[in-house]
Amino acid sequence: MTTISYPDTPAAESNPGAFRLLLSRPLPAISFFLVCGYVLLALLTLIPAFTRAATDPLLQLDLPDGTSITEYAPPSLRNFPSRLLGTDIQNRSVFYRTLYGTRTALTITLFASALSLGIGVVLGVSAGYFGGWLDEFVTWLVATFSAVPDVLLLISLGFILKPIDLGFLGWRDADGSGMPIPELAVIIFALGLTGWVGICRLIRGEVLKLRSFDYVSAAKALGLSEARILFRHVLPNTLHLVIITFTLGAIGYVQAEVFLTFLGLGVSDAPSWGRMIDDAKLELLRGVWWQFASATVAIGVLSLALSLLGDALRDVLDPKTRSRR
């Protein structure tokens, strides 16, 4: 079957050169590999052998008078790598905490992005493509959610979701009390329900534009079903927005986790960068800088890399800038 190329087809439908173009310049390439490095580190923590190493008891540091102290140990090269970045008040290795913090941060980012992108894309595409009262409703919903400031909506959602117990679903503890929503789920829901607004707006605008393109009218004239038009023609041409929003949104999610932990709405049973920075409030006054520094540097480098990567992706994937090249 011969493939017909319609005159108005946006080239985003098949764009093999984009990735190579992205990696051709030094700064985006470095950012990309940095982000991949973070993801690999997070995956590394899932390996059982690695997990065992992190929980081995640390060797005691011996002082001249025979006592031993391990809390707040400064960074040193002994007991590599657990003492590399020092220890915190509970004798936990800052190095391993930073590493496991990567896992927490990326888990939150992944699931919160999935939720917000899912909601945003579905609502945006339906509003843009079908129009009518659905469009009016989604526009009203977007206006309402953007009227409440992000921070406050986040806090409100976290505040509301935290005490809810799922006892009504029949899941109960041994003593009959209901099961509270896991902290990670609370954060993910709160972030997901706050973050869908931006992508919804973007996608709705893009779909409104695509709807007027010739190839969509041609597909309708050919009698293709709405579903096929949506999934094969409209949706793939909005993917560039999804990728860019995912990359740039990840920065917001990582930093929101820090903010939520500061307010007491974060994870308390898993190591997280937010917890490390929150603990650092009191530690800095005692001269203990290593936990604060490693968490801040970890977040800073990741945010910087994601920001540069997002800007580069925008240059590469946005059809407007591409057609000019």
């Binding site: 009203w140 409440v148 406050l152 009390s177 307010l263 968490a295």
Partner: protein, 341 residues
């Protein structure tokens, strides 16, 4: 122009109604019953009911048809013990005596900690927050514009590149880290300011200084980046080239020509930032122990204080809607072409 303003105002009404619905749905339908949270895990249903009554939560959610019955008991005065009939107006009013319309009337359940009306607490604490946020906002706006104009006029130079890099870097680091670092550096290490605390009256200046400095530095990153883009767009316009060709000095070009036309996004940003001046300084108020509205919100979250969190969310959202409306109107006043669309 008035037609445009009227149109924008009418369009704002569904949004405010949406905010009302959203807040109500979140706090009264989705949230766990605050009386249950306050009464504790093992409370009996009677205790929970009593707590609900005490907190003023035993009204129905949307409408109250049961309250529209005519006879109402007289509990005090010479006629105590008898009943009287409600007037029609009273009965209509009673129909709308529900939690939804309480929220619409800005009537929130009392704060759990101090059992005072939330609006009273907000009215007390607002001046403290504003005393820090307003100076910080004004200073940072001036600084952002000055730096943006300075950097944009030297585009591509070393100063431009390094300032841009600094802005990007300051956005990468979480704001909590920057606050803690500043607090440690300027307060504890260099001992320039007191680390935390608050005093009323004129003595508040020493305690307000560090939060203001921190807020200004933190806002520079995003602000300079945004205004730099806006100014660069203006600077590439033809009339600027004409002004330079005419011999207008660089300073005058920037201040007289560019700044005036850049005012539109500046005004929009300023007006929409106003609602956040009251509630926005959450991190800094908690770190510096300032008894303002941000600290109130954080405490309310820690104490499961339902009414306060609901009140702060709703009030800020309504203010934000009004601020958006106001900024649209200012936009029309600044750029007459807008209302002709």
């Amino acid at each position: 122009m008035w037609a445009y303003i009227l149109r924008r105002t009418l369009l704002m009404i569904p949004t405010i109604f949406g905010v009302l619905l959203l807040t109500f749905a979140l706090f009264n339908l989705v949230a766990k019953d605050p009386a249950r949270v306050v009464a504790g895990r093992n409370a009996t249903p009677e205790v929970i009911e009593a707590t609900r009554a005490k907190m003023g939560l035993n009204k129905p959610a949307f409408f109250n048809p049961a309250a529209t019955t005519r006879p109402v008991a007289i509990t005090s005065g010479p006629l105590a013990g008898t009943t009287r009939d409600k007037s029609t107006l009273e009965r209509v009013g009673a129909f709308f005596d529900s939690r939804f319309f309480d929220l619409a009337r800005f009537k929130f359940p009392n704060s759990i900690r101090s059992d005072r009306p939330v609006m009273e607490i907000i009215r007390e604490k607002a001046p403290v927050s504003l005393a820090i946020q307003v100076p910080a906002f004004l200073i940072s706006l001036g600084a952002q514009l000055a730096i943006a104009l300075f950097v944009a006029s030297r585009r591509g130079s070393g100063i431009d590149v390094s300032v841009t890099l600094l802005c990007v870097a300051s956005l990468a680091v979480p704001s909590l880290s920057l606050y803690i670092a500043f607090q440690w550096l300027l307060g504890a290490k260099l001992q320039l300011f007191p680390v935390a605390g608050w005093e009323t009256g004129i003595y508040a200046i020493q305690y307000a200084a560090l939060p203001i400095v921190c807020a200004v530095f933190l806002s520079l990153g995003a602000g300079v980046r945004f205004y730099r883009t806006v100014v660069l767009e203006e600077v590439s316009a033809d009339y600027i080239r004409t002004a330079r060709a005419k011999g207008v000095s660089e300073v005058d070009t920037m201040l007289v020509h560019v700044l005036r036309n850049v005012m539109i996004p500046v005004v929009t940003n300023t007006v929409t930032a106003l609602p956040f001046l009251m509630f926005g300084a959450i991190i800094s108020e908690r770190l510096f122990q300032i008894p303002g509205l941000g600290g109130l919100l954080v405490e309310a979250v820690f104490n499961q204080d339902h009414g306060v969190v609901m009140a702060v969310t709703y009030i800020t959202a309504v203010f934000y809607c009004l601020a958006l409306l106001l900024s649209d109107i200012c936009y029309t006043l600044a750029d007459p072409r807008v209302s002709l669309r």
